[in-house]
């Protein structure tokens, strides 16, 4: 072999070794997805999960991973479930494209043969549940979509294994409208022109929240003067702000899921604000929203049908452990993923077996009080919310409304969970 080519190959081999040693060393130091286990006497129970550890949703993915790790380590520290340790098998779904989600679920079900899957949310609804149904692997998640309801109704033979630990997204828009009704009724806020500017997030979640909210508000005599879709990653808002400043609507609703997009909007809005309430959804839940936005996001109202009960003793104890471990406030994704793992663990322990149907049968009747409220599934395998679908605050997940006050997320609605009250934003 000519010397030049041989030399090149030697260089490649050396570089490849450096690359892989460096990668593996970094991977070792960054804690691999599977948790370290105490030497078991019985085989571990394999808990599968997926999360967007890279890509545009990585901040949520990191929170999900932390929630999973905390829950699994706590369970194992107490001796595991039924004398067996829990082994977490986590796969990255990156930008959540369909092929990556399906590959991850196929990996978990067909190759890793996990006993149960707990995951947060994705932007694809259906194919992953079909894979779980093919392999008989139960799945618990918070996709928060109407498509889950449709899947349950269209898959009578497989519905036993699929659970959604919150309500479908249609209740977001209904809850938004009810919240405004409460503010007006209690004299905390008076609209001037009953105009709404709607900035829809490009995903299904964002679109549907706005669509249902729009219908609710139109029925209350409001008008939607601006209705635009915002793509993820938008940083320049001059065109839409020009329209907003011309219309001066009473309410601006923005359902973009990406926190940095929302922060960019608020910064530009606050340069010349209108007297409009600014309401958003889950995009403001990430801790980075206040970190990046600082004073620019004071007064922002955000809502989630599934979020931490700040000020609640169950949540505060858990959040204290989270802060000790990770040095910062926990995000919503960590809270509800932790809750779901504990819910699953409770059901499995009470069922007395890891046999999937027995676990799911127990899950149907388990009442679990977690960081986000009470989880109790209805006949359609989703968890109703309070006050949207149940009047009993002890049996439903509260539909939470937060307002950022003094750089803190203050829960302002619903009672009896609120710790503060609504204040007019500083730009009014």
């Amino acid at each position: 072999m000519p010397e030049k080519i041989l030399g090149r190959y030697v260089m490649v081999i050396i570089l490849a070794i450096i690359c892989f040693v460096g990668g593996f060393a970094a991977g070792w130091m960054s804690k691999p997805p599977e948790t370290q286990m105490v030497q078991p006497t019985l085989p571990p129970i394999k808990l599968g999960s997926v999360a967007p550890l890279t890509g545009p949703f990585a901040s949520s993915g990191e929170e999900m991973k932390r929630g999973l790790e905390m829950a699994v380590e706590e369970i194992n520290a107490r001796g595991g479930i039924l004398g067996r340790q829990v082994q977490l098998v986590l796969r990255d779904i990156e930008d959540m494209s369909p092929d990556k989600i399906i590959s991850a679920f196929t990996d978990l079900c067909a190759k890793e043969k996990v006993d149960f899957i707990v995951y947060g949310w994705t932007v694809v609804y259906g194919p992953q549940w079909d894979i779980c149904a093919t392999y008989g692997v139960p799945v618990l998640h918070v996709e928060t979509v109407k498509e889950f309801d449709d899947w349950i109704k269209n898959h009578p033979n497989d519905r036993w294994l699929n659970f959604m630990a919150d309500a479908p997204d249609t209740y977001y828009g209904i809850g938004f409208a009810k919240f405004l009704d409460i503010l007006i009724k209690e004299g905390l806020y008076q609209p001037v022109n009953k105009k709404i500017a709607m900035m829809r997030g490009e995903d299904a979640y964002g679109q549907r929240i706005c669509e249902v909210f729009k219908n609710e508000m139109l029925s209350r005599g409001w008008t939607v003067v601006i209705d635009e879709t915002i793509t993820f990653g938008t940083v320049e808002y001059t065109p839409i702000l020009t329209k907003i400043r011309a219309e001066s609507p009473d309410v601006i609703i923005n359902t973009d899921l990406v926190s940095s997009d929302l922060v960019a909007f608020m910064k530009q809005f606050r340069e010349n604000p209108t007297k409009s309430l600014f309401i958003t959804a889950f995009g403001a839940a990430a801790p980075e929203f206040i970190e990046l936005g600082q004073d620019n996001v004071e007064g922002v109202i955000w809502t989630t049908m599934l979020g931490q009960l700040r000020g609640d003793p169950v949540r505060e104890a858990w959040a204290e452990n989270y802060k000790k471990r990770y040095g910062e406030e926990p995000g919503e994704d960590a809270a509800f993923v932790y809750d779901m793992v504990m819910l699953w663990a409770t059901a499995t322990a009470v069922a007395g077996t890891t046999e999937p149907r027995a676990v799911c049968k127990q899950l149907e009747k388990t009442i679990y009080r977690g960081n986000c409220g009470t989880y109790l599934f209805n006949e359609w395998h989703w968890a109703p919310g309070y006050p949207d679908t149940t009047d009993d605050p002890s049996l439903g997940l509260p539909h939470l409304f937060y307002q950022i006050q003094n750089r803190q997320n203050v829960l302002i609605y619903p009672s009896p969970f609120n710790v503060g009250t609504f204040e007019l934003p500083p730009w009014f």
């Binding site: 550890l53 609804y125 299904a204």
Partner: protein
């Protein structure tokens, strides 16, 4: 850039074909699934390489055809009951038709403007499918769910998809091989070297590009349709920038302007990325992948396949020559006797 002339090494191809046929029988579901994805991405990469590597067409909008194929065939099957076997063909034809419309505008431009125009077309299609007004056709951000898949009596659906994807890849490769060895292929070669010289030879640049563009679009559209039928869902993620970059990586890894390079690149990229997910977490994995791509593109600008073939050719050629030489010597000695 030197473009590889098309030659087949028959023995190696037969071996690969044999492995391809028996692979699903020896492997677990997950790996069969990964290979199916690799087949589909190979089709897209091979077609894109036909444009970028062989034709000098700096198209960065091939996912338009992928998306047109996927959305059209999925919609027809869900709403009009068109069987997937027919839907996949219609998806390819519609993608081809779209390419003629696009090409008519694109090929009036030159150089970087072709890249910008085609990329803008892809982005435009992505925003169109997300429009609230388009929801009844495209499903909006949710996409089209519950797309029925291929069925053949009691045949295992995973195996069915595997052999279908394999078959389509083979047909794609054979078709492109035939194209490149035809008069059109010679014209492409001339155009890629020098457009002015090609014109002086009487080659109709516009027409030749349009033919190649539509052939690449046809097979890319078929790959898109297949994706929809296999994954049972179509979303705007099929048109994303990330997907586009991944395919370009596949082509570069395998070798731009080489014949089998994009296939090798698609397999390496798809399987390597998935394999690392079980070992490395998050950003570390992406760093390793990026470093691997950097190393390959710097050290092997002709692609990894060429890097493997060269030393074998250098090592084997003298041996083969001496083998033939001794065989010829024996023949001529026998003649002289």
């Amino acid at each position: 850039m030197k473009i590889e002339s098309v030659r087949f090494s028959h023995l190696l191809e037969v071996i690969v074909l044999f492995i391809g046929i028996i692979f699903p029988l020896l492997s677990v579901t997950y790996y069969v699934h990964l290979v199916i994805l690799s087949f589909l991405w190979s089709i897209v990469a091979v077609c894109w390489n036909l444009l970028l590597g062989y034709s000098g067409i700096s198209s960065f909008g091939n996912l338009v055809f992928f998306g047109v194929g996927a959305y059209s065939s999925a919609w027809l099957t869900i709403n009009m009951g068109v069987p997937p076997w027919l839907g996949i063909f219609i998806g390819g034809l519609l993608a081809s038709f779209m390419s003629i419309l696009m090409g008519a505008l694109t090929f009036r431009l030159r150089g970087v403007y072709v890249a910008l125009f085609t990329f803008a077309s892809q982005e435009m299609l992505r925003y169109i499918v997300l429009l609230p007004e388009a929801t009844k056709w495209t499903g909006g951000p949710i996409g089209l769910l519950g797309v029925p898949g291929f069925k053949l009596s009691n045949f295992n659906s995973l195996y069915l998809n595997y052999y279908l994807a394999f078959g389509i890849l083979l047909i794609t490769i054979l078709s492109i091989h035939k194209l490149l060895n035809s008069r059109t292929g010679l014209a492409l070669n001339a155009m890629a070297q020098s457009e002015i010289y090609a014109k002086t030879l009487g080659i109709n640049i516009f027409k030749t590009r349009l033919i190649v563009f539509s052939i690449a679009a046809f097979f890319t559209g078929i790959a898109g349709s297949f994706f929809a039928y296999y994954l049972h869902v179509v979303t705007d993620e099929y048109l994303s920038f990330t997907t586009m970059v991944s395919i370009i990586f596949m082509i570069l890894i395998g070798g731009l302007g080489t014949f089998y390079g994009p296939v090798a690149g698609a397999f390496i990229y798809t399987i390597f990325s998935e394999y690392l997910k079980g070992i490395l977490s998050g950003a570390i994995r992406l760093i390793v992948i990026s470093m691997a791509i950097m190393i390959i593109t710097i050290l092997f600008p002709s692609g990894i396949l060429e890097a493997i073939r060269k030393p074998f050719r250098s090592a084997l050629k003298p041996k083969v020559r001496s083998l033939f030489k001794s065989a010829n010597d024996t023949k001529s000695k026998a003649k002289n006797i």
